[in-house]
């Protein structure tokens, strides 16, 4: 086994070849925040919450997608990174219409948790307030695009675990949407197996089971035994 030693936040740690910075940090109880990452799925490095500073270049790299190397010196937590992460969370709240108090995922939402974790008591920037649709055509599930943060976990679990390839992405920039069957209503999807994995991996209340009211949508990750929770522990 190829072993390398590196430093994260001043702590000397050991990793094996192929492990990411995030893997090594978590197995050493060094917290690096993530939002799009979910153990068991591939990484897209899109939320940028896990960016860490890698010396000597000082470049910020996503801990979830960069493999450890011998002698790396990594700053995973600093005032600068904390502020960047706060701004990222703030901008996610403002780009769509997140109203925690009336959300099905209230109190079970990773975005809401992140805001609290990063002591966000208010937002300085202005909300975009786009007008977004809700697709409730599926018999059992619905998607409210107002609450989607485009982590693409649904897209990944659908292709990588279920193998149905129902979820995809369309549009660009702020108009990006996750879509079923290239834009057809979910209820008319030929490929969807109604397995519900997408609902279970959704970090917010964007994907939910019908009939659930405020604060009733709780992810049931044990539903997916191959996916593991934080620090590689089976959920």
């Amino acid at each position: 086994m190829n072993v390398c030693t590196l430093k994260i936040d001043g702590v000397e740690v050991v990793g094996t070849a192929g492990e990411t910075i995030l893997d090594v940090a978590r197995s050493n109880n060094i917290e690096i925040p993530t939002l799009c990452h979910l153990d068991g799925l591939s990484d897209v490095a899109s939320c940028r919450l896990c960016v860490v500073e890698v010396a000597p270049s000082g470049k910020l790299l996503p801990a979830c997608a960069v493999a450890v190397e011998e002698g790396m010196e990594i700053t995973a937590n600093s005032d600068r990174l904390h502020r960047y992460r706060q701004q990222i969370i703030e901008m996610v709240f403002l780009e769509r219409n997140h109203v925690c108090s009336v959300c099905v995922a209230n109190n079970h939402c990773e975005l809401q948790d992140k805001a609290a974790e990063f002591n966000l008591t208010h937002f300085d920037l202005c909300p975009v307030n786009p007008r977004l649709e809700v697709d409730a055509t599926h018999e059992r599930f619905a998607i409210d695009h107002n609450r989607c943060i485009l982590c693409l976990r649904c897209v990944r679990v659908c292709s990588e675990v279920e193998g149905a390839f129902t979820w995809g992405v369309s549009g660009r920039g702020l108009d990006t949407r996750v879509v079923t069957d290239a834009g057809a209503p979910w209820g008319e999807s030929d490929t969807c197996t109604s397995c519900g994995k997408c609902v279970q991996v959704c970090p917010t209340g964007a994907l939910f089971e019908k009939g659930r009211s405020v604060a009733q949508e709780k992810p049931r990750r044990p539903f997916l035994p191959y996916l593991t929770d934080k620090a590689g522990v089976p959920a």
Binding site: V99, N106, A115, T121, H122, P130
Partner: protein
């Protein structure tokens, strides 16, 4: 010891934050030892005094009336605390922002009305184009999010303020429940 002149008021909100304030229960008596409640929807004073030490403000800035009120309150208060999610993020009152004022009024006063159909042009204060968080209109000294902010947290933040400390406990608050 002179008591702190304390006020609470609301804009576009459901008064739930004030209910949470009442959930201080017996601690209200202890609070009463240290403050003098000079204005609040909970008591019967007609005018907002000109020399308030601290004021909790609930609700979003939704109408022209709200706008005047928040400006007046700011002018007359030394410390102004955004109280609850509506004040901090606009929360439910802000859900109309994506839809537009006209559509909202149309739905409320025409589509769903059974009597006197039509959008009122008097008595009811005119809506602003968008509901705004209070700190986008006036300077806010402390933010206390939550829908509603929990009584325990209100208690801690008020005590910090009364003790002359920076309100650090507010950072323990979270949006929503």
């Amino acid at each position: 010891m002179t008591k702190v002149k304390f006020a609470t008021t609301w804009l576009d909100g459901c008064s739930g934050c004030h209910m949470s304030f009442l959930d201080l229960d017996e601690r209200l008596i202890e609070l009463g030892e240290r403050i003098e409640l000079v204005y609040s929807p909970l008591v019967d004073f007609k005018d907002f005094p000109t020399d308030v030490d601290a004021c909790l403000i609930e609700g979003a800035v939704s109408s022209e009336d709200d706008l005047h009120k928040v400006q007046m309150v700011r002018e007359r208060s030394k410390v102004l605390i955004a109280f609850g999610d509506c004040a901090v993020t606009t929360n439910v009152p802000g859900m109309r922002n994506a839809i537009g004022t006209a559509a909202v009024l149309e739905r409320a006063y025409c589509d769903n009305a059974t009597h006197n159909r039509g959008i009122p042009d008097e008595i009811i204060p005119r809506l602003l184009p968008k509901a705004l968080p209070v700190h986008h209109v006036v300077h806010i000294d402390c933010f206390l999010p939550g829908c509603p902010p929990q009584a325990d947290l209100i208690w801690r933040v008020l005590n910090e303020l009364l003790d002359g400390q920076a309100p650090a406990a507010a950072k323990l608050a979270r949006f929503g429940k």
